[in-house]
Symmetry: C2
Subunit: 279 residues, 2 copies
């Protein structure tokens, strides 16, 4: 696994082409899978600034929260979904979401030394009872906030299962999500990247700056990759003294008039996966 | 537009994870879009060889023809779809397919010198009447087979519109399709490529052979890119004296246990789009 921190920025207008929640759910599924396939650490849904009516702004706002909820659902191991996501109408179509099949969604029985995501069920003076998907709750000697998901390491497997908060650093452990309801620039400030990549067809082609990008990526730790929405390219001015910024057209000679956001996300991450993995 | 001839090979098991024709249609839509975004010239659906029961073989055979029909539908300009595709139950869900928005699906009124796809409606001794999406049929002085789609150039726009068979060579003009019902190797023989790219995670990473691939692609004209299905990697022996062959893992350090065929198709085409566009 590469050692960079990669964040992906998606506009809150991403779902605006359809009102069908089954289709919306399925489009989010494509993004969730792409994040996991390419080891993305974080996804941020930002507010697209344009001359939108109040109705559109409000709908995008709801879509933004919906996206993050579905992405969180996908990122949650199967065995914790019932606890973490009470039944509600927004989650009606989650059955069509493809599984991530990542290391943090294990299908085997836990052994000592394994890492597991767990849901904090109950706190006592001595510590916290945690659901890590075993028949009985595990116990953690630290007092943690309840009704939350944390990562744990299995320390002891006996009558009582003992776990401690911990996370592996050599395998992909899922993504974090954030719905900011802020402009792209203000959302970027929350992440504070070293390198900002703006994907747009109105830029130099990836071919013409391939080696330049490779060096820039090698020299940075925290990379933000930005995508526009179905009706507008990226057009905020994102210059800042806090980060280096590069605009790139990742589909030279595109055969179609437009590249859909989900197509751009997979294509761009496939290419950046090469760039972050060069020695 | 690049000057290579690129063919993509998809197994007939591509749709086998679902029996829902709406989902099948939507999965094919992803492939059709990817072909057009990345200027792919041809898509071939081959027969996956594995220890399948007769029932599975028969279902895959039907899925193979269904894929090609939907891909043909997507590739047909809107104005010819009613003529070219009589209503039938298999086409029930075509409403969810995303438009290609390619140059061969024009939205403007034809002018002299424009290229148009046309449907041959009626042949006489003097030539053929062709629907090119204008109010009246156009006339072509050649005698062509009827009920077929060909490409034409608009020669004269007067009371009568005159067209002649022709195709532009400087813009992407859609893809051809073929459902072979043959093994991958026998399907490859129909295309006879110079260079065969097998995508599989059990191969050298794209990073380790990037420059080698770039040179090989530069030296060839006819490239075949092969994908496996949801339940099996590529495992036929495809060595041949007729073509050079390279195996490559296009997703180094994948975060998920598997990469879905449609994810692999977009990712691979995004990367090969760079490789074919290097000077």
């Amino acid at each position: 696994m590469h050692k960079k921190w990669v964040s992906v920025f998606i506009p809150d207008s991403f779902l605006s082409e359809t009102t069908d929640f089954k289709i919306k759910t399925s489009k989010i599924g494509v993004i969730g899978r792409a994040l996991a396939v390419f080891n993305v650490n974080q996804v941020i849904v930002y507010k697209e600034l344009s001359n939108n009516s109040d109705t559109v702004i409000e709908r995008n706002r709801r879509d933004s929260d919906f996206m993050v909820e579905i992405l969180d659902f996908m990122n949650t191991p199967q065995y914790l979904r019932k606890r973490a996501f009470p039944i509600k109408s927004e989650l009606k179509h989650v059955g069509i979401l493809p599984p991530l099949r990542t290391p943090h969604h294990p299908t085997e029985i836990a052994e000592v030394g394994d890492y597991r995501q767990g849901f904090t069920v109950k706190r006592t003076k001595k510590g916290t009872f945690v659901d890590i998907g075993m028949e009985d709750l595990a116990f953690c000697k630290e007092q943690l906030s309840v009704n939350k998901i944390f990562s744990f390491k299995v320390i002891k497997l006996a009558k009582e299962v003992i776990v401690t908060p911990d996370e592996p650093d050599d395998v992909y452990w899922g993504y974090k999500t954030l719905s900011t309801h802020k402009s792209l620039k203000n959302s970027l400030k929350l992440v504070n990247p070293d390198l900002v990549i703006e994907t747009t067809r109105y830029a130099d082609t990836i071919n013409s700056i391939f080696n330049e990008l490779e060096s820039k990526i090698k020299a940075t730790e925290n990379i933000a990759i930005l995508f526009g929405g179905p009706y507008s390219s990226l057009d905020e001015n994102l210059e800042s003294s806090h980060w280096d910024s590069v605009k790139v057209n990742i589909v030279p000679s595109q055969g179609t008039e437009t590249v859909r956001t989900e197509e751009a996300v997979i294509s761009t991450l496939a290419i950046f996966n090469i760039l972050v993995n060069f020695d």
